[in-house]
Each structure stands twice: as C-alpha cells, then as structure tokens.
C-alpha cells in the first residue's frame, strides 16, 4: 500500500510519533474494541428485562382486514401483544417523520411496503417473542402494488397514501432550483450538448450492528431511559418528547457503542417507539433488536434517484451549463432524514467543481410501495447523487469531444482565486485548490503511463479502464438560520473541565459510530491546551451528561462540534491566562502562549503550565475578580457556513472480456479536508468510504420484484464488498484550510463514499469504450457489464 506519511512538527511533543495535539496517534477507543470490550445495545441487560419482536407484513400493499392475537397471548411467556388499534388509543399509531410527513408505527389501515410493522410482541425472552409472531393471525386483502417509480404518477397508479384526506396521487413534491431560462439559452446556443439518463439505485447502509433499543420507563418517577442505536441522541430526546408526550426533562437517551451507522441510525424507527410502549405497558424494561433481514428490508435505504442529465459546452471543451431532471423514489412515507429546507437535500450542489454560467435542476419525489428512508447513508444529504451525475456527465462530454477527461476537468475547474465561490444554485464554496489536488492524484497514479498502458492493452484486446472523479463535498450542517431538524437549529455545544491535576474531560453532543471521536476531540483539546490526548476523556452519547447538539451525520462532527471543542478549549486557555497572570504577578497582556503553558514575554523561564494553573484555579489563592474557582468553560458553536472538502480520485479497472467481471486494480484517492487532525483516522475513514464505493459501483442494489417483494433482504442477496474486491488503497492529500472554521478543518467522513462510485463507473465505461459503451448504470455486475458489451446496457430498475 502506498501511504503518504506525514508528521506535523510539534515541539511540545518531543516524539514525532506521539504528538501533543494533531498527528498520527492510535485511537484511544481501539483497545476496547479490539479486545471485544465494546458495549453495544445488545450487550445491555437490565433486571427484569423483557424482549420485543415485530411482526412484519409479508406483502407490499394490502388492506388490513383483521388481526387475531389470541393464540399469541396464550403463549406462556408472552406478556403483551400490541397492535395498531392499541396505538390508536394512545395516539401513537402514526409518528412524524423528519420530512414533515407521518409514518405508521404499526399498520392500522393498510400495509404500504413489505416488511412494514404490523404487531409487537413482548415476551420473557427473545425466543418466545419470535415464536409468538407465528401465533398472530392476520388477514390481508392484497392490493396491486406500485413498484416502478416511473409509473407512480400514472393516472391508474394505485394511491398509496389514501389515508391523507384529499390525496389522489403519489406525488410528494416538485422542486426546482437554478435559472431555467438562462440555462435553456445556453443549451440552445451551445456547440455541443450531451444527454444521459442514469440511475443511482436503491442501496442500504447495512451497518454491521442492526438497530435496536432498550426502553426503561420508571412509572414511579415518570422517567424514561431509552438506550438506543442513535447517531443523534439529543434530537431523539426532543422528538420523543413531541411524539410520546413525555416531558423532555423526564427523558434520558443513551447511545452506547454503535457498530456502524452511515445514516441508518439517524431516524426514529417504529421499533424504538414500540420498545417504549412495551415498557410502559408492562412496567419492565423492554429490549428490541432487529435482525439482519429487518434491517435491510425496513430501515432507511439510500439513493433511488433516476436522473436525466444534460451538459452544454463549447467545442473546445468549456462547460457552459448543466441541467437535470430527477425522479426520486421516497418509498411509502417521506422519511428522508436531512436538515435542509429543500426536499432534495444538498442535491443542488450538482454543479460540482466547475465554473458554470448557468444551471437548473428539477426534482420530483414520489411514493412507492417500498420501505421509507432516503436518509444520508454517508451521502452528505444527496451530494453522492449530485457528484455521480456531474462526474458521469463530464466523462460523457469528454468522450463526445474526444478530450482526455482529466484535461476537460482541469479546463473547467473553479480557480483558487475565485474562492469564496458562489455557484449558480446558491452555495458559497469556502475554499479550494482543485487543480493542485487533480495534479497530485495524476502524479501518484502515473496518469500518462496508465494511458499508454491502456493503448497497448487495447491493441491486444484487453479491457483496461481509467476513471476519474473530482468531487466537491458540502458538509458541516450548518448555520442555525439555514439548517434544522424539525425546528431544532444545528449549532453544537461543548463543555470542557480541566481537573485540579490538569487532566480534562470534554463533553460533546455528537455520537461516534466508528469515527474515532474519543481520539479526535481529545486531540483538538490537546492542540489548543497542550494537555496530552491520553489525559483528556471524551464523554458522548448520553443526553444527561452532554450538552445539546444535533448529532453525527453529514460529516458534521468535526466541522461543527470540532469547532465547538476548539473554541471551548480557547475559552479555557484565556481563563488560564488570567489566572497565570495572577500567579506570576504580571499583566495578562504580558504573557505569551506556547503549547501547554503561559509565560512572560521575553522571560521563558517565568511561566505556568496548564497543570499549575488548574491546581491554582481549584486551590486557595485569590483569583482575579470575576474568575470562578475552576478551569471550566462551555460554548455553543453556530457555524457561519458549511465546509467544502474535495478530492481527486483515479480508478484503474481490468475487465475480463469473456465474463464481464470487473477487477479494481488500483485506486488513488487524494483528499483535501482542510486541516488534518489525525491522518490515521482520516485514512481509515477514506479506506472505509472507498470500500463502500466499490460496493455500490459493482454489486449493491435493493431490487424488488413486480409484486413488491424485497429481493435484497439478506446478505446472501444484498452483497457488500469484502477485502477480496478492493485493491490496496493509495491515498494522498492536499491541505486547503477552511477560512471560516476555528481550526480550518472541513470533515472527511463521507468524501470517499461520495467520490468513489463515479470514478469506478467512469473506469468501467472507459474500459468498454472499444465496444462503443458511453454509459452503464450501477451495479456493474458481470452480467450487466456483459450486456453493455453486447450493446444493450440496461437500467437496473
């Protein structure tokens, strides 16, 4: 593996491998995880705990005729069977989604997707709960399902949401942005116009740990403690207060170690609510943990965009305008979890990394008889779809113009001096140096040599492809005035306490699902205060112990909470300065900071370390006026803008001409996430995202048959990549700090997932150029590649 190592110079560290502050250090949480000592939701056992299981609909669309729970209730270990009718009595049958819609907690009137929640059994153990599901007798009146989103708006399409008064069709929204007239004018006069329909198929986050909860309602003091797999504990607390009518101060949400989220654990699923209802009904704690099929079939999917792209350019390769028309399949309920005020999330950044003169986008959202969701899935709220669209279109244009795709991109990039750059759909990109990243990636790849090799291979009938993707991410939602989740603004709190001996605890609102928060946030404090990371405890995942904030998704932890943590540490540093001045009997303005200590300007021997100051703050000396006897602080950080990480990816594939099998031979990823806190964690995030990209590009899809049966309900059918499908990743970086972020960091969590699928597909299409292939949709399975080679590429849906 080619890894470009770096060591940030850090005089306070003494050892370049163990810096105080930023740098490559091993994750603090790893000893726990590698020893199997992580504590996940299913590890939790409470005294008297019961177990819940959900009966799910076997069909996609059906009127519910009757439910008979008699036999299930007669099971000796069953304590309760809850149906939609019971929930109606509690006004809990329907819950609000995160997109101004409602979702059935349990079916009351009609089943709307296969796998939908029909009844909830609470039993003494999980085996009895599962067995009792088979004792519930449900009668369904099966209705014709709506599976194909393209037919959702047909006059004869079955109306899925007929429970909404006055609703006679399946349209959720029409939404547009950009300037249609200006765009049309450019298209009308352009030398070259190319057009392509492309599908980003429905895929699933598929975290290793499925979703689950343990609800513990204390009837005596009216307090609900809810342990759940959530990426956003505080947002969930407020939502549970709204949904369940429990006062917010009586709710504690605890999110233990989480085995992967990728957006799958942002929303509130019926199972969480049912665990709460089960605990209230039985008076005992209730655990509910879904199995793999339940996770794949009922929880938030991602993507499912049918996109028509059009690009206009001059004949010498200057891109003028971009236009797209999208059909978005949102499933049976509009439950997209995203914080923007637009129904397509951040998709409007589809103008990508290019300096265009006009752009226009229209998105139509429809209901179908499929599971709801469309949540992030490491996609930055639809940036994944946007980047895929523009990067495929640019490649198609390059083919049309017979230009090298790298050259075409270099010709059209937004230039460094144009930042901050306002694009044509309302975004202001904070900073970037795209050409530098592109050239670095080409250099690492040996781009010219690869092209030469390709020519030689083609002459021998071998299929080698080189694919480029250049992406601009938009992360770190976001400024309170623009972004919210059900009215909750997206500022994040942080609290820092330095104990008398100079050890510290920082409390944050965001919740790690594997991102390494316990290390990264300790390093930010370490960088600001000079306390070694191992002496800083990071507390997260418990609403009773942490300040308010909106949670971890959309790569927002470092951009938002990272800013909060840097600022709270600086606040402590300023307080330490005042105390140090008193200790040194000098004026604060005469002090100078070096990592870990304040000293008198011009007299480096006269200084006080953070440890000295912390002890003094908690000690007996007389503190300056207005200074409390501690070394603590708290802040809430409202980011002034989003951050815009970017990257240049190059993929090399070899395709077996006889079988259509694609082998990813090399993948070069140059990322720019601004200031790099822990390069090792960054590389880990990039490796994970790239692997995810291989999955989506080559194998992942949730398909449905004509009856609406989910064909991706297990890992036998829904394939995720293994070590065998991925190459040794070759990573590199450039650093363009965010000008508005306290430490210049931009976020990295989703960059690779966003950027890698188009690089791989571009490489596959490039390899198939001798067959005249201009486009093929994901997933590039052997069969689908072979069909493209036969001149009949097929959309996957």
């Amino acid at each position: 593996m080619t890894v470009i190592h770096e060591r940030d110079s850090n005089p306070a560290a003494g050892d370049a491998d163990r810096p105080v502050g930023y740098g490559r250090i091993q994750r603090k949480e790893d000893p726990r995880f590698v020893r199997g000592k992580g504590h996940y939701i299913d590890d939790l056992v409470l005294p008297g705990m019961l177990h819940g299981a959900i009966l799910r609909a076997p069909v996609a669309h059906a009127r519910l005729v009757s439910i008979d729970t008699t036999n299930a209730l007669a099971h000796p270990k069953v304590l309760a069977v809850i149906t939609g009718k019971d929930l109606e009595g509690l006004k809990l049958a329907w819950a609000p989604t995160l997109s101004a819609d409602v979702q059935a907690v349990l079916v009351t009137d009609k089943v709307r997707f296969q796998g939908q929640e029909v009844a909830f059994v609470v039993a003494e153990d999980r085996y009895a709960a599962r067995d009792a599901l088979e004792l519930i007798d449900v009668e369904y009146d099966v209705l014709p399902p709506l599976v194909d989103a393209r037919k959702a708006l047909d006059a004869d399409a079955p109306v899925i949401r007929d429970e909404i008064p006055g609703r006679t069709d399946n349209k959720i929204f029409d939404w547009e942005i950009g300037n249609a007239a200006e765009t049309e004018a450019l298209f009308a006069s352009a030398d070259v116009v190319v057009r392509q329909e492309m599908v980003y198929p429905r895929v699933h986050p598929a975290p290793m740990e499925t979703c689950g909860a343990v609800a513990d309602f204390d009837a005596v003091n009216g307090k609900l403690t809810l342990y759940e797999t959530t990426q956003a504990p505080h947002a969930h607390r407020t939502l549970f207060a709204i949904v369940a009518g429990i006062p917010e101060h009586k709710i504690r949400i605890v999110s233990p170690d989480i085995g992967g989220g990728f957006g799958n654990k942002v929303g509130i699923y019926p199972g969480y609510i049912l665990a709460v209802v089960g605990s209230i009904v039985t008076g005992r704690p209730v655990k509910w943990v879904e199995d793999r099929s339940e996770n794949l079939m009922s929880t938030s999917f991602a993507r499912d965009y049918i996109m028509e792209g059009e690009i206009a350019a001059t004949k010498d390769g200057k891109i003028l305008a971009l236009r797209t028309n999208v059909l978005a399949d949102h499933g049976a309920f509009n439950a997209t979890a995203q914080p923007t005020k637009t129904p397509a999330g951040f998709f409007s950044i589809f103008t990508g990394s290019y300096d265009l003169q006009a752009a226009y986008c229209k998105v139509t959202g429809v209901y179908t008889n499929k599971a709801p969701g469309g949540v992030a899935y490491a996609c930055s709220f639809r940036v994944t779809e946007a980047v895929y669209l523009v990067e495929r279109m640019v490649d198609i244009l390059a083919r049309k113009l017979d230009m090298d795709p790298a050259e075409l991109r270099l010709k059209n990039f937004i230039k460094p001096e144009q930042f901050p750059y306002a694009n044509k759909t309302g975004w202001v990109y904070d900073s970037g140096n795209y050409e530098a990243a592109m050239r670095k990636s080409m250099e690492l790849a040996g781009y010219e040599d690869l092209r030469r090799e390709q020519v030689e291979k083609r002459a021998k009938g071998e299929l080698m492809g080189i694919g480029i993707s250049f992406f601009t991410e938009v992360v770190g939602a976001g400024p309170r005035k623009h972004f919210d989740i059900v009215g909750l603004g997206m500022a994040d709190g942080a609290e820092l306490r330095v104990h008398p001996t100079g050890k510290a605890v920082v409390r944050i609102s965001v919740q790690s699902q594997g991102q390494g928060h316990e290390t990264t946030f300790a390093q930010i404090v370490a960088e600001e205060l000079g306390i070694p990371p191992e002496n800083i405890d990071v507390v997260h995942g418990d609403t009773d112990q942490t300040p308010f904030g909106l949670g971890t998704y959309g790569s927002r932890s470092t951009p938002v909470s990272g800013g909060a943590v840097a600022l709270v540490a600086r606040k402590v540093r300023e307080k330490a300065k005042l105390i140090a001045a008193a200790m040194l009997e000098t004026r604060p303005e005469d002090l100078e900071w070096e990592k870990g200590r304040w000293f008198v300007k011009g007299d480096p021997t006269a200084g006080k370390t953070i440890e000295d100051i912390a002890m003094a703050a908690h000690g007996t000396m007389t503190l300056p006026e207005g200074i409390d006897g501690n070394l603590d602080a708290e802040v809430t950080y409202d980011p002034p803008n989003l951050t815009f990480p970017f990257g240049a990816y190059i993929c090399v594939v070899d395709i077996d001409p006889g079988t259509g099998h694609v082998k990813v031979r090399r993948f070069i990823a140059v990322d720019d996430c601004g200031t790099r806190i822990n390069p090792m964690i960054i590389e880990g995030q990039v490796h994970g995202g790239l692997t995810d990209g291989v999955g989506m590009a080559l194998m992942e899809i949730i398909e449905f048959d004509a009856d609406g049966n989910n064909l991706g309900g297990s890992f036998m059918d829904y394939l995720i990549p293994t070590a065998m499908e991925v190459p040794d990743w070759e990573t590199g970086f450039t650093v363009t700090p965010s000008p508005h972020h306290p430490i210049g960091a931009k976020g990295i969590g989703e960059s690779a997932t966003v950027g890698s699928p188009p690089a791989i597909v571009n490489a596959v299409v490039d390899a198939l150029a001798p067959y005249g292939v201009v486009h093929m949709d994901m997933p590039c399975t052997p069969a689908r590649v072979w069909e493209a080679m036969q001149g009949r590429p097929r959309p996957p849906i």
């Binding site: 085996y127 943990v289 793999r292 079988t659 394939l719 990549p721 293994t722 052997p782 069909e787």
Partner: protein, 292 residues
C-alpha cells in the same frame, strides 16, 4: 439475531450411533456437519427440523486417503483440508480450483464435502466437481453400506439419493493416468453463489488424443454432465476448435433461469465461455502429466 424455530440437539459419537439416532428420531431429524447452509435456512425458518444430529465428532469420516487407483475422502473432510491437500492438488486440480472459490475461509474451515453434496444446492460447486470426476458416494444405512454413482446421487435441487435414515460416509474418486481437470466460476463477489461455473476432466490416450472427457456446469440448470459436448472430444486431439465446439454444445445443453445474477442469454454465454476455458486448462494439465 435471527432465531430458528425450537429444535432438539444431540451429538453422535460414531457412524453407528448416528444411524441409530436417525432411526430413532425419524424424518424430522437432520444431520448437521459444518452447518453453513442448514443453520441459515433454519434461522430464516425455511428449514424446521425437530432434531439436529451433530456428526462433528465422527472423526472416522475425516480423512483423505490414496488407496490404489482411487482417492477416498471422508464425508466429514473440511473444505480447507481439501484445499490444502497436496495429494488432492496433484491428482485433481479441479478440486483445488473449486475449493479456492467456495465461500470464504471461515466457511471452508467448517464446511464439509459431505455437507455440500447432501445439501445439493443447484449452485453448489462440489456437486459439479464430483460429477466431472465420476465419483462414487459411499452411503450407509440400517441395511448396511451401498455405493452410489454420482449420476444416481443427484435427484434435483436439494434432493439426493441419501435416504432420511442414511448417512453419506465417503466419496471415492477414480484416479486415471494422463489426466487433467479444472474448474472456473463467475461470481458477483467472492463468497456469493455462482452466477455460473464449469468444470472439466480430461484423460488423454498415449497418442495425446482425448480418451475420456467430462464437462459439468454449475447453476445452469443441467443434470449430470454435458454428454453431447463430451462426445465431440473423444478420440480427437485437443484443439481450440474442439473447445469452441464443446462450448457451443454446452450452451445449448444448459437450461439456466434468469435471476439477480444474470439473464438467460448471459448465463448461456458463460456456459460456452467457461466450458472453453476449463477444457483448455484441463487438457493443458493432462498434457503436463504426460510430459512429467
């Protein structure tokens, strides 16, 4: 966690003990070895045996033994053991080829040849391998031991000649001189069931012409081997033209179904393509033994 329906469980200590347990618990009992097919089916409640009879202690069925002109493999032999056996690799490259692409190391460490054959999944690799190698199954039941040719062993998807009160104990592979064999599979991902696969075994006469040939296809809806394609090879000198013709006949002979792994035309194409590849490889390997 996916939870199977309730069942009882017992460990057999010997083959006789296992047969006695099968007789006692009747047709609702199932033998479990590696369990990598049966347990997922139970968890999905597609299989609901009342009794599981665990034969993992039957060490008498775990062996690879060259015995005269046949290789004897015990039914409890793990995939890993077959993959790592130099004897197997020397005599039957097709077994090594196939084992290398069966699932993943975790499955191979646990799964057995007997379990694979008795599960009889249409996409299962070792069934094709045993067909191609004209293997013989040794089956024991209340009435004693009987030998079953592979032609008779397979009775369709998930069905074999092994009766509910019988146990597959051994698989015997005839060793032929001047032979070579090969297996190749196309899969969407390592560890996925085959989109399609093909296996071939070739024995050459002293003059280098084909003396015996067997071609098998996996996941392509074919019972047994491709007799038509085998026939065109017999008595002829191996050549690319011959492989092309055999591939064409294999594509005609197979009867695939469309699914998420591919449409019918693609699968027929693979029958052709993979048949040519494995024949090429098997003939090259046979020629090598001749030279060696």
């Amino acid at each position: 966690m996916q939870i199977p329906a309730s069942f009882d469980y017992v460990r057999a200590s010997t083959v006789d003990d296992a047969l006695e347990l099968l007789a006692r618990h009747g047709p609702e009992s199932r033998v479990i070895a590696g369990g990598h097919s049966l347990l997922p089916m139970m968890k999905l409640r597609l299989a609901r045996p009342e009794w599981l009879i665990d034969i993992n202690d039957l060490f008498e069925l775990d062996f690879i033994l060259l015995d005269g002109d046949r290789l004897r493999v015990g039914a409890l032999t793990r995939h890993t053991a077959l993959l790592e056996s130099t004897e197997v690799a020397r005599l039957f490259s097709i077994i090594s080829d196939a084992e290398a692409v069966i699932a993943d190391p975790v499955v191979r460490n646990r799964g057995t040849i007997g379990g694979s054959l008795c599960q009889a999944d249409p996409a299962e690799d070792l069934s094709t391998v045993c067909d191609v190698l004209r293997a013989v199954a040794v089956v024991r039941g209340p009435g004693g031991e009987r030998l079953v040719d592979m032609n008779d062993f397979h009775r369709g998807p998930y069905e074999t000649a092994v009766a509910p009160d019988e146990l597959l104990c051994e698989v015997r592979f005839p060793v032929r001189p001047r032979s070579g064999s090969a297996y190749e599979k196309v899969e969407r991902r390592v560890g996925d069931w085959a989109v399609a696969a093909a296996g071939a075994a070739i024995s050459l006469a002293e003059d280098g012409s084909v003396e015996a040939a067997a071609i098998g296809l996996t996941a392509l809806g074919l019972d047994g081997t491709v007799a038509e394609a085998e026939a065109v090879l017999l008595g002829r000198q191996p050549s690319e033209e011959l492989f092309v013709e055999a591939g064409r006949l294999a594509a005609i002979a197979c009867d695939p179904v469309a699914d998420q792994r591919g449409q019918i035309d693609y699968k027929r194409h693979l029958a052709d393509e993979l048949t040519r590849r494995v024949l090429r490889q098997a003939c090259a390997r046979a020629a090598q033994t001749q030279e060696g």
